[in-house]
């Protein structure tokens, strides 16, 4: 088959409603839609402060067809643990508890609670939709913001001078049964991972790259293309880690040069060719490390 036909692999049930108030072309919103397709209606979501706090609609609305608990910024994993405990006491082992947080709530303020839940191996699925900055508050840098990016707190004169935190490695170090990356550009891979995670008992972590047109200064329609480029350039490789030990790629990574990906994004507009070469070198180095992990565990 020439066209990669995916429609038969995407569950048809829609658990996210129209009329949510996400920005046009929001990757994080599509991520929610796809993840819920993978999990189905027996799911309880808890989400801390993040774009989705707004996206899901003001009281008395909800955009989701599953229960949703809003909670404080740093508490997604802890609140999810509490929900899980209550369900366990009710004898409900089928319902998936989904902690759904942005990169700020995961990489930064929520990392302690996430680490705690992961160490306890709570039977939850934690999904970080990563738009690489505090977008809901107006584009401030987080520890998920890539090196060199402009944000309102890393202005062009002093763009972000630290690379993105390697969160999967942190989670893998907790030896949780399952950790994976995914993007909205590959719904089959994303849903497959979510469904795999759903079947595993213990803490599952899925890190989804979710392009953000207003925050990345990109065109609304390019959200999917950017996510795809991120994978092809190895900026955001697709892989999974089982029990913190077995690392495995789940996609092809042709290693396209990063420059076109960088140049598509206004947040990188100020970068010089030399700085882009620096990013390429960083991507290459991380790729080598990841490749060694994969090869070592093969």
């Amino acid at each position: 088959m020439s066209q990669i036909v995916i429609k038969d692999k995407i569950p048809r049930e829609e658990l996210m409603a129209s009329g949510h108030v996400a920005c046009p072309g929001c990757g994080g919103t599509l991520a929610m839609r796809l993840v819920l397709k993978g999990l189905g209606p027996k799911t309880i979501v808890t989400l801390p402060a993040c774009c989705w706090t707004i996206i899901s609609g003001p009281f008395p609305q909800t955009a989701l067809g599953v229960p949703l608990l809003h909670t404080a910024f740093e508490t997604a994993a802890a609140a999810a643990s509490g929900i899980r405990a209550a369900l366990d006491m009710q004898g409900d082992k089928d319902t998936t508890v989904l902690g759904w947080a942005g990169d700020g709530g995961t990489f930064d303020i929520g990392l302690q609670a996430l680490s705690g839940a992961a160490e306890r191996n709570e039977d939850i699925l934690y999904v970080c939709y990563d738009n690489e900055a505090y977008m809901n508050t107006g584009i401030q840098r987080s520890s998920a913001t890539p090196w060199g990016a402009w944000t309102t707190t890393t202005p062009v004169g002093t763009p972000k001078s630290h690379p993105k935190k390697d969160l999967i490695a942190i989670l893998a170090a907790h030896r949780i049964p399952y950790a994976a990356t995914a993007t909205v550009a590959d719904p089959v891979d994303l849903i497959g991972k979510v469904q795999k995670a759903k079947a595993i008992r213990g803490t599952k972590f899925v890190h989804i790259l979710a392009p953000c047109p207003p925050g990345w200064k990109t065109s609304d329609e390019e959200t999917i293309e950017l996510a795809r480029m991120a994978v092809r350039t190895r900026v955001f490789p697709l892989y999974e880690v089982e029990n913190g030990q077995r690392w495995r790629f789940t996609a092809e990574h042709p290693g396209d040069p990063v420059e076109p990906y960088i140049r598509k994004q206004g947040r990188f507009r100020h970068l010089t060719p030399e700085q882009i070469r620096h990013i390429q070198a960083e991507v290459d180095a991380r790729w080598e490390l990841l490749k060694r992990r994969v090869e070592f565990s093969a």
Binding site: K42, P58, T62, P67, L68, T71, S81, A86, A113
Partner: protein, 390 residues
Amino acid sequence: MKKVMMGNHAVSWGVRLARAEVIAAYPITPQTQVVEELSEMCATGALKARFIKVESEHSAMAACIGAASTGARTFTATSAQGLALMHEVLHWAAGARLPIVMADINRAMAPGWTVWTDQNDSLSQRDTGWLQIYCESNQEVLDSTVQAFKIAEKVDLPVMIVLDAFYLSHTYEPVDVPDAAEVDAFLPKRVTRYKLDTNDPRSFGALAPPPVYMEMRLRQQEAMEEALRVVDEVDEEWHRRFGRRYGAVESYRTEGAELVLVVSGTIASTARYVVDQLREKGEKVGLVKARLFRPFPTAAMRKALAGVPHVAVLDRNISPGHCGIFAEEIRAALYDLEPASRPAIHGYIIGLGGRDVKPENIIDCVDRTREAARSGKPTPREDVWVGVQP
């Protein structure tokens, strides 16, 4: 069944009798025996609950919020720094109208580092929307813990049971442990109107814009007002079933008193002793124990103190820049009384950071109050710091 137990274990027993389903807690001195005992109870199966050993108090409360939102009867315990760390989510629990019960072992706030008691930790959570019940004895701790679940679930508000570090938490007293079946009759399984339920998918705690936020806070306030009635009602039922009651405010030998001491927590026991001594000498001194701090029992407090010429409020706490917090609250509560029946309020700061409050300290307060009364001068607004070095 009588058992000799420390105050912390009285908390654990109360939780066990209440059949809490989810416990999430983090250890902190002087609370640790509460969670140790609960861990033991869960391990042996005496208490069928999921105990989440979280990595912080903040997560403890967040987990309680998650569990309570899913319909579970939920408990946690902490002290001082831990409670302060929880501050954000204390608001959340109350605003989400979750009937979470927490034991706070009153410990003073650092720095310098301290593990000893005073009430600043719990009183600085005054405006988070939690009910606060201050206990005097281990029996009261156990009884109040069980009562707290019933009150909380009746008004959909969280309840904090407060007991003094060491003076109660680590002090062994004989405690009558009620029969479990009888407690079950008093406190059936939690039923909730709203919860996270995949058969009725709803969102909880979404953005509340200005047109609705105030109404939600008004409803929370009305629930607090309702709680005043419910605290008494539950206390009465407890009395019917188990023969003990405590009241929101307890008056002790206040008949015809010219001076009434107002205290809370374990100081009440010392104060009872002092009042007994003074009464034996024929002195018209009484005692009011403030048990319920939030919602503030204004009517009960007025009833207890109206017409008493002089009231001495002993605060084991301080609102820096202002005064003792109970004194402040009582002054506000009595302000609207007719001037003829409105007492003069004398404030005393005492026992901070675990400093022992001895009978002579209380007598000192009584003497200073009398002296002030005799002087005929207006009652000073500044509190007297009792027992401090000059």
